[in-house]
Symmetry: C2
Subunit: 155 residues, 2 copies
Amino acid sequence: MKPGSCHTECQQVLHLAERLCEGRGARLTPQRRQVLEILCASPKPLGAYDILDLLKQGVPAAKPPTVYRALEFLLQQGLVHRIESLNAYVGCVHPDHPHASQFLICRDCGEVRELESQSVERTLGSALRACGFKADSRVVEVTGRCLRCSEQETP
Amino acid sequence: MKPGSCHTECQQVLHLAERLCEGRGARLTPQRRQVLEILCASPKPLGAYDILDLLKQGVPAAKPPTVYRALEFLLQQGLVHRIESLNAYVGCVHPDHPHASQFLICRDCGEVRELESQSVERTLGSALRACGFKADSRVVEVTGRCLRCSEQETP
DNA sequence: AGTGTTATGTTATCACATAACATAAGCAAT
DNA sequence: ATTGCTTATGTTATGTGATAACATAACACT
Ligand SMILES: [Zn+2]
Ligand SMILES: [Zn+2]
Ligand SMILES: [Zn+2]
Ligand SMILES: [Zn+2]
């Protein structure tokens, strides 16, 4: 992640989130906004209690339900994603359209990259059709080493 | 799941597991074997504490680490899979060869079907190559309604 | 038998998530 | 403005999943 670029990216995402919620009649309250801000500012996924610790800086009375409620809202709105294999959450990088994405989780640097491969989605979709399975939600998470980390160290 | 067929299937899997472990010099101890047996006998994935309750029938002194250690071994040997989006475990239906599989989780009947679609694996593999990502493990889990459940009820 | 290794027993605790109920804030209609 | 409904938040407690740390026992190999 390029230093400096994050902050401006976060601002863009937050503005977009405001517009999206307003258009849907959904209330992006200060607390919810702060949780989204925390997630967008983090280069790595955060656990609910990590978020809680950070949120307390702005909302000292915050408790677990505070965070989980905000996450529930943000997940519904498609503004954040949950990473099942980490029990953690990331801000979505392009929340403007609904999408099923794939996550690449680097076990070395911890970074999570959100991919949106049409071919993967299509192939998975046809495999599901072949089984007669009606999918509600798809989880595709790959753990390994990102390009940068595999270039740095030899093994 | 056809009644009656499960028990014989379980036996086959258990015998296969014994052979595999023996061939690898891995020790399928009675406790580990019992955990595998519990998982194979269940048509649905089981949580670690579900397994614990069942295991206590044979090993009254069993405690959480007992189960988690057995699961760790069985996962390493490729005899069981963990379903990330359920925090639960299932016996593998064909543990004889290493594989990345896809899981179809029915939200109605709870059944989990293990798929091994070559096309999904290939497509995902090429998407990963395109990113320069070296995968260690892949998680593909789809939640929805299975064919049977979607035929039974109209919505 | 002696010794290193692997497996199990035991206790306590950590990490993640939600139930249940009370209070407050937003909002629309009178 | 007051009422009454709905949604959001506060608060306490608890449920659920997983592991740390250390002790003991079983096994394998010499
Ligand atoms: Zn996204
Ligand atoms: Zn990396
Ligand atoms: Zn399998
Ligand atoms: Zn079903």
